[in-house]
Symmetry: C2
Subunit: 476 residues, 2 copies
């Protein structure tokens, strides 16, 4: 596909709610139906009852009997970042690169994405809208007889010109040790079967559905966040404003589109931003060393959980999952249960006619390269209840935001395959003159175009920031 | 400094051999004089005689008594890349980020770089042209009393607006374990003292001096390679061609400048190149595990060296260094001595009016992120003598290149602080219709502008490729 043509295809899809098959209301009904068809039971059990899982010698780690899938390891972290210079914690170690993929196809000239109503045991609401494919590397590289996920063959046999996007993206650095997934989007031109729990949606529809709590899953959000709309000039923004009657009435959607597309009006150049992050990476230290789970003095291994002595942060729990659909499937696995909900928010502000986002750099133990770009606010609610709401930059600001400042405010789920009912409040808040140009030392103003360019080059933008960027809609 | 103004300053410096202080011939003489002033003796000794260094318990590693500086560790490598799936090797482990810095200043409106005639024990010719500053992190972060390197204070006290470039860049992945240096360029506007072994040069002069064997050191080359010239349009190339009389006569310099500046005529988009590299990173595996030096079955620890049983690759040797200048300084250190010279070459070709470089992805054990972009040819001479010259893509092509195809062909030294007389032949070869558009699977055509953009985002372009890019001159 030629250069900008692909970007234009993505913009069209992000601006089109016309869909020959479903409107957004029908999609919501359809997800409800999918939910009724299935019975999911997640039972908390003890580690003794956790079939096919065991603690390795001397409580070194919690692992699957096959040595595959993932393990819960212990790490000791030493850093000169932030207020705590040393700590120990359990962490999910899943060295294999997972595959998250969308099949797309044009209907009436508009690119549609094939979503799956997928059950994950940790989901608060059982079924969420997931990418076409979530596969392990072994799924992907050697198709197992009869067990291949739906549509896998389309990805395995995709010709280079069918691949619209292919990026490596990080997962939660506080929970995963250097985990990365391959995010891939392919396009088919021929007819393909539409299986029972799959649905075609435009990008605009996916973004509209993200306004609903816990409906669009994390894997969908990470792929959507990396979709490039190109570096275009302001004329095209005017063009889209003119061709989409809703734009004129909704100035914020138009401003978001402009921040996504226009490159030359940013406050800082890419070179400036790279200087900003290099300086910090040069001074920051992050040493991560594996330690046995059983040796961590602030964490207790009990019969049914590995928990912090003060019940802070999260617990590792043992679960027995049973899913009843046409057949009954059942398995045991450890999951991570958060101690509390979190909040992730971007504050944005118009600078020289273009919306800029206040981005912070954040060090997390499992990061691939020390620090990543994170939302303006990213914290657990409990943390500020103890240390005071004023202790974190912009936290009070976003919590006190007036309704007219709030661009979106929804609850989003983390990945239900590993996390037990983990949710974060996702907010985008528009600031006016009440927020000045000056930011705390580890913050910098960036346009959406710049954030999306850093997403492209990988290991730069964390999943919390990407989840927020995915939700940016140019429509509502 | 405003956006493109800085890029223009760098281009001016790269196009200007006018220098109020020295022409290139005088610089060569000056380096000779610096060489005469100093007596360097590097004596090969035994590990027993290696003062302040020792093998850790059970021959685990070779380390300094203080635990500082660097150590020689053993690693076991497992990978599905290339023909060898598992091997063990010694590697230099130097976890601290080093600082490589240039002070620049405008004279007659042209940016000049402050180079140091620096002695390194491993240099074949004692003194090479080095950056203003080569410092360790501890040098940089806490200035030692009376022992601070020259000009360090200018870097430590630089205001953000004085910093022209600040990047993290990798070193040799086959020799260093995930080593990175901070490459920094600052600009001063006030007069500063010019110490005895320092000299001001334009970027054009540095590039002209790179044509000489082993004169410009590796640290200078890595910084120079990252200098951004901006994304400009073709008009500016015409402008420079018109204002520089030498340009019209030398079409290749003009073509190289165009490949550096022009972004929108590349064969592949950045998105395409990222797809290309993501696909490979997703399938490639690189597991590196530390093992004791003494346990490596194919490497022997002898009295005076750690060597491969077949004397291949390299040796770790023990040296006693003595440098006599006005005073006598002496110390012991291990060094890495190569078994043979190597060759690094880029093949370039005009595609749609813009020079493109054939770039390969290469996995090396110490890489930060599995694979990096490498030159078209990067190998040790001995390897192809055994496996046959035809076994490596483009090797026969560059060795048989006709004189009129050769843009440059010089011998460049690796870093003399760690490597004992290690040199590589650096070549840039212009291909015509004899090289088609089709490349082997792990190769891709890129413009200089694209290579330099990937350099900027770090962990993408290896030091061998950067050394070649640094030598690209727009003048000769």
């Amino acid at each position: 596909m030629k250069k900008h043509n692909l970007n234009i295809k993505f913009i069209q899809s992000a601006l089109s709610v016309k869909n020959p098959f479903n409107d957004v209301i029908q999609v919501r009904e359809w997800v409800k139906e999918q939910n009724l068809k299935v019975l999911v039971s997640v039972q908390k059990i003890t580690f003794d009852q956790l079939e096919q899982w065991h603690f390795a010698e001397n409580g070194r780690c919690l692992q699957h009997d096959s040595g595959k899938f993932f393990s819960i390891d212990g790490i000791k972290v030493q850093t000169n970042w932030g207020g705590v210079s040393e700590w120990e914690q359990p962490i999910i170690n899943q060295p294999e690169i997972g595959y998250l993929g969308f099949v797309t196809k044009e209907f009436d000239g508009v690119l549609h994405f094939l979503l799956q109503a997928k059950i994950e045991p940790g989901n608060v609401n059982n079924v969420q809208l997931s990418p076409t494919l979530q596969a392990t590397k072994s799924n992907y590289t050697q198709v197992h007889k009869g067990k291949a996920p739906a549509y896998l063959d389309l990805f395995v046999n995709a010709k280079p010109e069918q691949v619209l996007l292919d990026q490596l993206q990080s997962e939660q650095g506080a929970r995963f040790l250097k985990k990365r997934n391959r995010n891939i989007v392919i396009k088919v031109d021929h007819d393909i079967p539409l299986y029972d729990n799959f649905i075609w949606l435009t990008l605009a529809q996916i973004k509209l559905l993200m306004v609903e709590d816990n409906l669009v899953n994390m894997d969908t959000r990470t792929i959507i966040s990396g979709i490039p709309y190109g570096d275009l000039d302001e004329d095209i923004v005017d063009f889209y404003n003119d061709t989409n009657p809703s734009m004129k009435e909704n100035r914020i959607a138009s401003k978001l589109l402009k921040s996504t597309l226009v490159q030359d009006k940013a406050l800082h150049t890419f070179d400036d931003i790279i200087k900003f992050i290099t300086k910090q990476k040069s001074f920051l230290e992050l040493h991560v060393e594996k330690v046995p789970l059983s040796s961590m003095s602030e964490w207790k291994i009990e019969a049914d959980s590995i928990r912090h002595v003060d019940d802070k942060y999260f617990k590792v729990i043992a679960t027995k999952v049973q899913i009843e659909n046409r057949e009954v499937v059942s398995w045991c696995q450890p999951m991570v249960e958060p101690a509390q909900e979190g909040i992730c928010a971007f504050v944005c502000k118009e600078i020289d006619g273009v919306l800029h986002f206040a981005v912070q750099t954040k060090l997390e133990a499992g990061n691939f390269d020390i620090i990543e770009f994170a939302p303006t606010v990213q914290c657990l609610t409990g943390n500020y209840r103890i240390s005071g709401i004023e202790s974190l930059p912009f936290l009070a600001y976003v919590l006190d935001a007036k309704p007219e400042q709030i661009i979106f405010d929804t609850i989003q789920s983390e990945e239900g395959g590993r996390f037990y009912r983990e949710q974060n409040r996702n907010m985008l808040v528009l600031a006016g003159d009440d927020v000045g140009m000056e930011l705390p030392e580890n913050y910098i103003w960036m346009t959406l175009n710049q954030l999306q360019t850093f997403i492209k080059f990988n290991n730069y933008v964390n999943i919390q920031a990407r989840s927020l960027i995915a939700a940016v809609s140019f429509m509502n």
